[in-house]
Amino acid sequence: MPKYLISAWHDDNYELDFSAPDAQRRVARVGAFNEELHQAGAWVFAAGLHPASSATVVRSSGGEVSMTDGPYAETKEQMGGFWVIEAPDLDAALAWAGKAAAASEGPVEVRPAEG
């Protein structure tokens, strides 16, 4: 069955404060969405991510490994979390993506996995 990455995007400047009512509501909605994915057998993996400022970029060149602080893409929008799902076709994946966007209260991107 084809696999798709559904990534959730938001402005980079967020600080996750789980005590805030907004965050709690989103956590609850995402939890319900994840449960639905499990029930339907569409779940492969999912995770929410720490802010992009927590990222490290690692490069390998000629056997030398180097590291730099910060996310790879210096953009205002960053990925805040993702799902990998199994769906029979694009329309099914887009239907899940619609629910993901509602649960995460932000835009999501759907991208097919190779193979």
């Binding site: 076709d89 694009l90 329309d91 887009l94 759907v110 097919p112």
Partner: protein, 414 residues
Amino acid sequence: MTGPLDEVFRREAGRCTATLIRVLGDIDLAEDAVAEAFAIAAEQWPKTGIPPNPGGWITTTARNRAIDWLRRESTRGEKHLAAHRLHLESMEPDHNPELDRLDDFVDVVADDQLRLMFLCAHPALAADAQVGLILRLLAGLSAGEIATAFLVPDATMAQRIVRAKRKLHDNHASYRIPGAAELPDRLHAVLAAIYLIFTEGHTATSGQTLTRTGLSAEAIRLGRTLAGLMPDEPEAIGLLALMLLSESRRAARIAADGTMVRLADQDRNRWDRTLISEGHELVRACLRRNQPGPFQIQAAIAAVHADAPTAESTDWPQIIALYDQLCALRPSPVAALNRSVAIAELHGPIAGLDALAEIDPAALENYQPYHAARADLLARAGRHHEAVAAYDRAIELATNTIERDFLIRQRAAL
């Protein structure tokens, strides 16, 4: 022979491609096979005559050719076959009666055409990609012909089509007719794409000539096909009616000296009465179903215009009522703009400007017809300075030479 073969190609290429995509599970392979079958036909038919069911002949020949190709490929490895999501056994003639008796399976072929329309106008594709795919796969135009019609470089259009096909393939887009729940939205995307082809042909967005008949004719042909495939969808009929009624005014839109003529100033004797009566009949037929939609309402508006023997006798209250309905059903800044223009015709330029003021200007900032309409209303209200500024903006935005010349003359007349 070229004539008759061209005619078969026009009529059958899209249908054959639609069926071959389902049978082969691969768009590129289907296109190549259909092209090959037409090449074989060009060689054989002058000697043998055109077969009784040319579409069936093309489809069967293309299918057989594709099987040959795949068999040859399969000796090099199973990977190629797997890539085509294809089960070779099911394609042996004995196991595939539908293809050998195509006449008996008209419904299957019709469903294939619909599948292809929904695939080409998939909402995951950008509008220009949808339009390119529809003209390539359903209308059988070459990428070069489409590029010429849209005044873009051949390579740009070819790449746009290749990328769109690749996206559908990589995303495992299904070849199916959407279910009832998603049908209204998906159908609207198909209708909007066909209408985009029509309007591009009707008012060319750039270039020297105001209309590009070829694109409008293709859009009407596609609209007829779709209305035939979905006779119970009033919006499909509404779209066809709208296109026919707009097309009826083509000859009157350009004066003898090549300049543009506004609706109000057109010589209504030059309107095509045959197209108008067909459009009228379709409008009545779909309105009877009482499931109004944006294309039906726009067709009804065009029908009211067509009914008026002179611009002065236009039933503006009726047109405003229809725009009210359109704005309630599918609000858009463009619909609100057209409603304001109709209000100005009935209640004067001040009322029209008041209605315009209710639209968020940011939504129409780069829309040339907004500035042209506003300029006209300001001029009629005697606010000449503001009118000149609005004309300046409209002229700046006009990409079509004939439209720009018209606006420049209007500004000079102030």
